[in-house]
Each structure stands twice: as C-alpha cells, then as structure tokens.
Symmetry: C2
Subunit: 472 residues, 2 copies
C-alpha cells in the first residue's frame, strides 16, 4: 500500500516509470486509467508526456474528468494546449470545469480566443463567470495568479458555527488548500484572518471576530507577481489575500503558485544575464527556431557593439605597427575588465532581485565597488607585470629592450581596466533600473562588450604615455 | 485596527518605518516593546536592524521571550549571532527555548561551539534533546531543514478522536504550520497523511486509517536540500515528511523553508555564473574582505588561464607584424565566441538546475546546439564579412589590396569561433557535472576564457590558410 519514493538524482519520475509504460501500452486507455488510479497526478503527467503522442487524447478522455483536470495541470503547457484543442468541445469542457479556477484561467489563456470561448460556453455558468473574471486580470499580476476558491466566514459568527461552515465547505470537495480562513465584516470587506489551526484552538463560544488576527497583509489584483512572491517569501506566508480597492475579498494567491513564480523569475534572470532573451518554456520544449530568435537578436546587438573595438583599434593601427608586441596582451587586458565586471553585475542584479539593495543604495554600492575594483586591479596588475618580466628574465619570450616599460604598461592598464570594469559592472544594473529597464538586462556579455571598448582605449592611452619616445 | 500594506516598490519595510523609529528612540526599551506589539515580527526585525547597534540587546531583552524568538528568526544571521553572544546566558536560553526547533538548531549552529553548549545547557531538557538531535544532521540536508514539531495520530483512532487530539495540540500553542496531520501504524511508522481539511471533511465515526491518503512522498534525513526543494515544488506540497530508514516519522520540511532554499540556490548559481564564489550572506552584509576573497580567487584563476592568449599570440607575432590589420578584429572575433558560449551555458545550467535536462541528455543538447552554433556563426560571419567590405567600399577604412581576403578570414573565423563557443558553452556544464562538480561553476567568464584561446588559434589558422602568399 505504502509507496515510498527514494530521492531521485539524475532521472525524472517519468523515466523511472518507463518500463511500466511499455506494459501499459498493450492495454486499453480505460484500463490504463484504472491501473494508474493510485498514481500522483504529477507522475501520471510524466507518463503522459512519454507515451506516443497519438494515444494521449484517448487516455485523457478515458480518465475521470477531475483526474484528467489534475493531470493537465502538471503536463507541459504546449501539450496541454494541443490536447485541449484535440478533445471534443464537450470533453474539453468537462475536464476544464473540474480545474481549479486559477488553473482553468491559465489553461484557457493559452488557447486561441475562439477555442477558449467555445469551451467557456460549454462549462457551467458559475464556473464560466468566475473564469471570465480571472481572465480579465493580467497573467503576471496577483489577479492572474489568485484562486477564487477561498473560505471566508463573517466576523460575527461563533467559533463553533464557523468550524461547522468550514467543515461543510470541506465536504463539498473543494480541493485547493483551505488552511486559511478569512473573516469578513458586515460589509463583506476583509477584516481578519485565522488559520484552520487557530480556529480549532479557539475557545468554544468565542466569536470569530474576537480570535481572528487583524494584522493582515493583502494586495490588490493589479499587484505585480514579483511583489506578491516577495511578500509571501519575506513573511513566510501560506497564502496572501487579494482585495479590491474597497477592501472586498476577491481571492488568494497560494504559496505553491509563488514557488513557480520564483523559479520562473530566477530562470528569466539567469537567461538574461547569460545574454539572451528569456525563453518562455523549458529549454527542451523550445523549438529550434525560437531558440535561434531569442539568442540571435542579442548576439547581433552585441556584435554590432563590439564592432567599435575594430574601429578603436583601427585608430591606433600605426602605433600597433610600430609595437606589435603590444597586441599580445590585448585579450588578456580586456577580458580581465569583462571578468571583474561580470562578477560585480551578477552580485548586484541578484541583490536587486532579492531587494537586498534598492535604487537609492547605488552610492553605497559604488563606495564598496570602487575600492574593490582598485584592489582587484592592483592584484591583476602585479600579476600582469610579473608575467612580462618573468617571461623576459626566464628567457621564455623576448619582449625587447623596453620590456620593463611594456610590463609597466600592462600592469597600469590592468589597474585602470579592472577598476573600470568593476565600477561599470556594478552600476549598470542601477542605471538600467533607473531608466525603467529590468536590471537583469545587464548581461555578462553586455558588460564585457562595454568594457572591451573602454579597455582598449585605456590600454593604448597608457601605452602612448609610457612608450612615447621609446617603442612608439 | 486593520493594517493594510501597499505593495512596496523600491523601499524596504524597515525604511518605511524609519520616521517612527526616531520617535521610538526617545522611549525606554520596555515601551518600544509595548508600542510595537502589533507589528509583524518580520517588520520589527527590520526596525531592529535599523536602530543604533548598542540599543538592540536592551530591546531584545525587553521583549517577551516568544516575541524575541520570532524577531530573531527574521533578523540577519550576523546580527542574530552577535545578539545571542551579548545577552546573558539565561536571557539567551529563555529566547532560544521559544524558537521553533529547526530555527533553534540553525541559530545555535552559527555560534561558537562553547557558546552554543552554554545556551543548550540552560534550556529545558526536552528542547535540548530535540535540538541536539537536529544539530546532528548536516545543515544542507532534509534533517537540517526539518522541524520536529509535527502532528501525528495513530491510524486506529476515529476521526472525532483525532480531531480532538489535534485540537488539544493546537491549544498547546505550537506555532509551526499544523495543516498536515501524519498517521502512524502500530509500530510508529509513517502509514498515511491527511490535511486538516480532509480530517474535518471525513465522515464522523470513520477510522483515520480508512480516510487517510496512503500515497506518501517522503525523504530520509540525509536527502540533499536540493532534492527536497524539487519534490516540494514539483508536487505542490505544503510539507514533506522525513522518515528514518525503518520508516519512522522524524519530522517534516515545510514549504516556507523550501522557498528560502530555492532563493539561496538561485543566488549561489547566479553568483557562480557571474564568475565568483557564492557569498554566504546578502551582498550588503558581506564584509569588504570577504567580497575580495570570494572574487579575487576566481579573478586570478581566470587571469592565469587568459595568460595563454598572450603566449598563443606570441607564437604568431611574426605573422602579426606582417599583417597588423589582422589584430584589429581580434576583440570582435574572440568576444563573439564568448558571447555565444555564455548564452548556451546559462541555458544549460538553468535547465540542469530545474532538472529539465539530465546528464544523459547531453547528446540531445549537442544535437541542437551544434546546428544553432552554425547558424549563429553564419549570421555573425556574414555581418563580419560585410563590416570589412562596407567600410572598404564606403572609404571609412582602407584594409589594403587584400581586403576581400581579410573579410573572408574574419567571416570564416567567426563561423568557427561562434560554433565552437556555442558547443563548448553548452557541453561544459555537463562535463562539470560528469566529473562531480556543480555545473554552475561553468561561469560566463570561464567559458569566455576557454573560448578566447581557441578563438585566437582558429582565427590565425584561417588567416594563415587564406592569406599565405598574399598578406602573410
């Protein structure tokens, strides 16, 4: 009876089940539905994603509608859309009607408007209205995330009556987490909150209004999903109520939806920092064409930016011809600026995303990054100086009679380039936020590109200053 | 009564409260404690972090012990350690005794062993034993994350008796989320689970064993926190039970702890990808020396790696002297390889972290990235070719009589470098995982460094092949 699952390492649940699927494929969809009855919907969704594409709709249609709805909540978006398009409208409506209101809205939002309307027409009127209300909110807002299946009781009820009400609702088979009981005043506005535990712990005979917590965090439906996630995470909440401007309770956002938001935001930030447009789907589900589009655009932009290096170097071509030895250190010097910039940018983007620092902290950050950049520059400058001199004296490479000046040029340039890279890398996310962009657009490649051009100019300026009259 | 908080944008709760603090500072710690009674502990923690350092211990000592415990759970780790070191042992023990068992173990783990022992000696025996057991687990495992404050009832009890038991426990004032009720068999092993809602919904007179869910996901205390987070997130769980090898219930990991784990892991991955060692504390709390240490090490390693570019270019110095014009495109070409590599790496690291791809998918990824790299290489190669020819014909720059061959060299090199960068960038995370490292060590700077050296060799090889007899 008891199913214990060892922690998986390198394999998905679906993969673990693969041998069973082979078995399942020999039997009819109805039998599959019966056989997999005890399986967690997330696991069944993994199985569904692995079986041959043409058998999937038959299996979904053979599942009881509430089971099918659960499974569709876990399969990937693209497959869910395809299945909801393939099923008959009646079949699709039966399944969709069984979904949680927030999941239902999410699922319909992904379909063509025509198909979504067909399905909406065919589901019960109450569910349809509820869904239409949710569909009116932007997907990336509290309204787009919230479920309307909430439990609320009037403040004037006794604890015992409230428990009875909750019990009746629970027996009604609502599935969403019901651990939070909201309390409303006589005008229907949100007045308090209690956990189911607190309701159980309350003295018999007490009024709900006397035992509820009145310190409530709430958001309006237009609140950004980022803000919702950060409130839930900062205050360790299980759910956050969503209220209208008048204070009326509209729904709640639960912590499991927030985990998805946090994961998605982290993924988007990581991809942007890597220098591409965020994918909207998992890597393996993204089409090849989409991958090309999301990456090619930025690659071209960065390439066009980097073209300035060719122009900058063209400006110094005559000097380069006189001192070819200078070219040897170009990659070393400009990449050091890019590396120190990339470090600083990743720190600041993340600190901004977690709200550890805010826009007005920029000068405090600059006050740490400038000395840090000078320290790194001095460190690498010494290494660079030593590299030239050691190679010279150990006879590994002959930099000519002016080797000391060349070593000095490399060392001093590194101080300048690394300090510049660190400061630019740390300030760019602030600058982007200031002008209204996502700081995560300050990608490692973008910082490197910005620093490359300046790095070359710093290097050649130092060289012209130090080597004028000797090598140049 | 009702406290509504608008969604914050660029300011922390603490900052919002700053004017009030000025007020608070004029009054005694006891009055501050009374004045802030209704404040969420997370908000009070923000206030504590803002008031002058020397007043904090007095305020903490003036709070009721359970309130002080709540606040210490939300202040930053460094401050909490300092405060627990400053309070008298008796004060510290009173506060620590009121913490959740898992928070208590976390707090003591950060102190010196001597101080932790002093405090442990002074707390009640039951709490001490519980804490010592938790301290025995590694912090990054399920055992290190779990709380032992769980609610369990025997399977043989009736629903009504079970509800009564839960109610008694709830009235006992336990604070951790009690929405999950675990069910044990006669040997004390985990046999099933029910939510408080399901217990309330169950028919009166039924036995717990008949209504519980027997499909239980559980982990052993040694399970990695990453695996715990991924199970809770994949299955939308509120809590995950932790059981011994024999199946005995030891504790549970709750979803709010998992959010912290997910945030921490994302932060660590982002910082590693940026090319530094992950900080263990928020950016602003990290000491300057620590920042230098975490970044300086990798900067030096990358610098030493990048030194190979100077050697590689030294090898071609005679060719460079003959064709200085070739040097102009070095930054452009090698950075394009780094950029495409950085994109691919960020995609794959994230897909591995979210378990969208696993180690054995490497050849499927290579099968997408190789053509993607060729496509990007061709795109940038055409742009590079056009850049040289357009500048030549528009008379912006004179590349000499062999401009066409130079343009061809740049174009073909870009195809090679970008393809190489894309493939290396996508395969490096797999290679690192294969040899037992965290794929996130494949940072953008590391990929760029790897690609820079090879990029130079590709560029010069193409040049030697195409320009031999003309320019070289």
């Amino acid at each position: 009876m008891k199913k214990k699952k060892a922690v998986r390492e390198e394999r998905s649940i679906g993969a673990l089940l693969a041998p069973d699927i082979i078995e399942l494929l020999k039997i009819s969809p109805a039998d599959v539905a019966a056989e997999t009855e005890a399986m967690h919907p997330a696991d069944l969704a993994d199985v569904v994603e692995l079986i041959p594409r043409k058998r999937i709709s038959a299996l979904i249609a053979a599942l009881p509608p509430d089971r099918a709805a659960d499974v569709l909540e876990y399969v990937n978006d693209r497959l869910r859309n395809e299945l909801l398009a393939e099923l008959t409208t009646a079949q699709a409506a039966t399944v969709v009607a069984q979904m949680e209101p927030d999941e239902r809205a999410d699922a319909l939002e992904e379909l063509t408007e025509e198909r979504a309307d067909e399905i909406l027409e065919a589901i019960p009127a109450a569910a349809r209205r509820e869904t239409e209300e949710l569909l009116a909110y932007e997907p990336n807002t509290a309204g787009g995330l919230m479920t309307t299946q909430i439990v609320s009781v009037p403040a004037s009820e006794t604890v015992e009556r409230a428990l009875l009400m909750v019990r009746t609702i629970a027996r009604g088979g609502r599935r969403e987490a019901m651990n939070t009981v909201y309390v409303t005043d006589e005008a229907g506005r949100l007045a308090g909150v209690m956990s189911l535990r607190e309701l159980l712990a309350a003295a018999e005979g007490a009024r709900v209004g006397d035992v509820m917590t009145t310190e409530i965090l709430s958001v309006q439906p237009t609140a950004d999903r980022d803000d919702v996630a950060s409130l839930i995470s900062e205050y360790d909440l299980v759910a956050l109520p969503v209220v209208s401007e008048q204070g009326n309770l509209l729904g709640m956002v639960t912590v499991d939806d927030v985990i998805d938001v946090i994961q998605e935001e982290s993924t988007e930030d990581a991809q942007r920092f890597g220098g591409l447009e965020a994918l909207e789907e998992p890597y393996m589900e993204s089409t090849f064409l989409n991958l090309i589009k999301k990456r090619g655009g930025w690659l071209c932009v960065l390439f066009l930016g980097e073209m300035i290096t060719a122009s900058a170097m063209g400006y110094y071509e005559d000097d380069l011809a006189k001192a070819v030895v200078l070219t040897l250190f170009i990659p070393l010097i400009i990449s050091s600026g890019g590396n120190s910039g990339s470090q600083a940018t990743s720190l600041i983007i993340r600190a901004l995303a977690l709200r550890e620092v805010t826009l007005r902290d920029w000068w405090r950050v600059a006050g740490r990054e400038l000395p840090a950049g000078l320290a790194f520059g001095t460190l690498l400058g010494l290494l660079g100086f030593a590299r030239v001199e050691i190679w010279q004296y150990a006879d590994i490479y002959n930099y000519g009679p002016h080797h000391f000046l060349i070593a000095l040029t490399v060392g001093i340039s590194l101080i300048g380039v690394v300090t510049f890279g660190t400061v630019v890398g740390s300030m760019l996310p602030f600058a982007l936020r200031k002008i209204g962009f996502d700081p995560a657009f300050a990608s490692a490649p973008l910082v490197a590109t910005l620093v490359d051009v300046t790095g070359l100019i710093i290097y050649f300026s130092v060289a012209l200053f130090l080597l004028r009259g000797s090598l140049l």
